[in-house]
Symmetry: C2
Subunit: 410 residues, 2 copies
């Protein structure tokens, strides 16, 4: 089939998937435990099946499509990503890698002949952070990193992660069976949008990822005292909102340190959150990222100091709990070489870049060697409705992935 | 009836009312448009009726109980307060004044003989700020200050104030009829808990209020840009949460100015409020209070400057809309004298204090002369579950109110 006919298929699949979103939410919102996410994966299942994959859902809710290779002894080559989004997110972060992987299988089948190595295409459940405070739920389970404690985490309504998982087709009682035994996988490749603007600025179409930044995420609780906003003099208040303001600005300062990381407070909840009551409680999530493990560890210490000292000056009690501490993930040298050669084979000269965003590849690195390909993000925008990658750029990424799979599986 | 038998009735009524609260909310929460608020007012209605009042509900949802006087030509003496609470509030702020007013009527009836002047006991609808951004809904309507624009205000679900009002027994189409014509009322007296600790610190049981602080309330919108919290470098962000943090700390600084006021940010909403997305939008409410009209006007100007300048340094667009600008209310000299004499008549030497909290009396000042009595608040705590006034202190306030009503109505 001519590339002019096949070229738009991945993009068309992305646009079809983008039709299944949560009503009343901004952008293209399809959060992991929403009804729309569950429904959207019927489409993913269909696309996998019609590409010739044998599809199953594992106990972690991952969709796994298998293309049987001729040599059943060889560990499988894994291609994957995710199809859930953040609230108010876009159409590319995640789905791009799943749809491209499905297209790789289509092209192998259209070319005729089975590969020697079995290929699995995986749509991992819930890569984005959720109301339970963890990310990469599906790939964590595959790596054996989804603990019984994780399953007992609750969201604000008191529902457990186990209950939420069961509601989207998982089987929390058999979660251990989602973990892949050693020797299952030979390598993991993930195509993803860059979510930054370095490719665009360099006018390049592809990047081979060198390492994935580690992410530390802490929940900070600030306990002040609720008081009447009129009758309580300014110097007798224990205002949790003002303590949260100071902690947030300190987190920014930590993120600007040495230019080796980033730090963000994106979520902040207040109680009672009423205009005429001094805030009693603030709960915020601070997250910071770096490719440098030492920088991350130092930031842990500095943040702990901030939480102990800054709120206390206002009579507010600060405490901190780690939600996750992922160290940086180094992409496998040999796979990076394969991706570089594959890109050059299709006429592209890729950049080599670290990834500032976390990916399922981080969890998969515990299972097998991993590597990633980036395609450009317009204006570097991501996790927002404006997230965009041109159809031609998606096609370049897909072709590089086909070339790499050909080298690794055939 | 001996005072030992009647003394606990107001307190007992307060505890009965406190049983009707919103489930799953902290403290004693009975917000104005909740089902529980609607239900709680059946109890208020019953208590009014069994005290011998003729009860009606006006188009603004106010409950008005009438004790007919012998001289129908005289304007009525009005006693009132409110029975709604803030989220996570207490059992005294509001209900104390309504229950004491009902008890005044009981004691007049128990004493025998009708007063010359008609007495109205009013449970004003929704004194506390609500999701529509205004307070004193019922007393505003009585003063003719609830405009058609107010009725079209919407909450976050898109419901209008008119719809919400209709759902709690009001009749928004006839709201004009809730406004009292000139000559309806001779005076308005309100008993309330102090919500501060000045009475407690002075070991006094009563205060006569000199003036009620003016309250200005502004909604501040901060529009930044949603970006991926990993891939967006620190110096390319337009972070609405950090802008909100800076504005909140500036509001605190304004409130500390000259010791003549207080300023608070108690409410802050973020979008998308996700841990790994730079905040796109923050909406916060700044409110400040002072008995000094000049201080309030200067604060308006300084706040406007803060909103224009501080967020802009981060590439965040700030805008401000006034939700309300109540000027200070001066309590009527002649009524203050009556309250002072009444207090002394029952053996109390009252303090004279300004009120830092807003009250229905502020709206009523447009209708007739107003005055207020304060009873102590333990630890000065209010708008919180710990809000407390001893039964004996409630009784002292009730007796002073009885004495004042005797002077003004009999």
């Amino acid at each position: 089939m001519a590339s002019s006919e096949t070229g738009g298929r991945v993009f068309a699949d992305l646009m079809r998937l983008a039709e299944v979103v949560e009503p009343g939410q901004p952008g293209w919102t399809r959060r992991v435990f929403s009804a729309e996410y569950l429904r959207s994966r019927e489409l993913v299942w269909e696309l996998m099946e019609s590409a010739g994959l044998e599809v199953r859902r594992d106990p972690a809710g991952n969709l796994i499509g298998t293309l049987e290779g001729t040599d059943a002894q060889l560990p499988a080559l894994i291609l994957g990503s995710h199809t859930d989004t953040v609230a108010g997110g876009g159409r590319f972060d995640g789905p791009c890698g799943v749809m491209a992987a499905i297209e790789v299988v289509r092209r192998i089948n259209e070319r005729g002949g089975r590969p020697r190595r079995t290929i699995w295409v995986v749509d991992f459940l819930g890569e984005e952070p959720n109301d339970f405070g963890i990310s990469c739920v599906g790939s964590r389970a595959v790596a054996g990193h989804l603990s019984p404690e994780h399953l007992q985490l609750t969201d604000r309504s008191g529902r457990t992660l186990a209950e939420a998982l069961a509601a989207v087709g998982g089987d929390p009682d058999r979660i251990g069976e989602a973990c892949w035994p050693e020797g299952t996988a030979s390598a993991y490749l993930e195509l993803h949008v860059e979510q930054g603007s370095r490719l665009e600025e360099a006018a390049r179409g592809l990047a081979v990822v060198t390492a994935i930044a580690g992410i530390h995420r802490a929940e900070i609780r600030l306990e002040g005292r609720a008081d009447h906003a009129g009758t309580t003099p300014m110097d007798r208040r224990s205002d949790a909102l003002l303590a949260a303001a100071e902690v947030s600005l300190e987190v920014e300062r930590l993120g600007r340190r040495e230019g080796r990381g980033v730090a963000t407070v994106g979520r902040l909840e207040l109680e009672p959150n009423s205009p005429n009551v001094v805030a009693e409680r603030a709960v915020l999530i601070a997250e910071y990222r770096s490719g440098d493990a030492v920088w991350l560890a130092t930031t842990d210490d500095l943040l702990q100091e901030v939480v102990e000292n800054a709120p206390a000056r206002r009579g507010v009690r600060g405490s901190l709990a780690w939600l996750s501490r992922e160290e940086p993930t180094i992409c496998a040298e040999e796979l990076r070489s394969v991706l570089l050669e594959s890109a050059r084979e299709i006429g592209e000269e890729p950049l080599e870049l670290p990834s500032w965003a976390g990916h399922d590849a981080v969890q998969m690195a515990a299972v097998c060697p991993v590597a990633m390909l980036f395609v450009p993000s317009r204006g570097g925008r991501s996790h927002c409705p404006e997230e965009w990658t041109d159809p031609e750029q998606v096609e370049v990424g897909t072709r590089a992935l086909v070339a790499a799979v050909t080298r690794l599986a055939v």
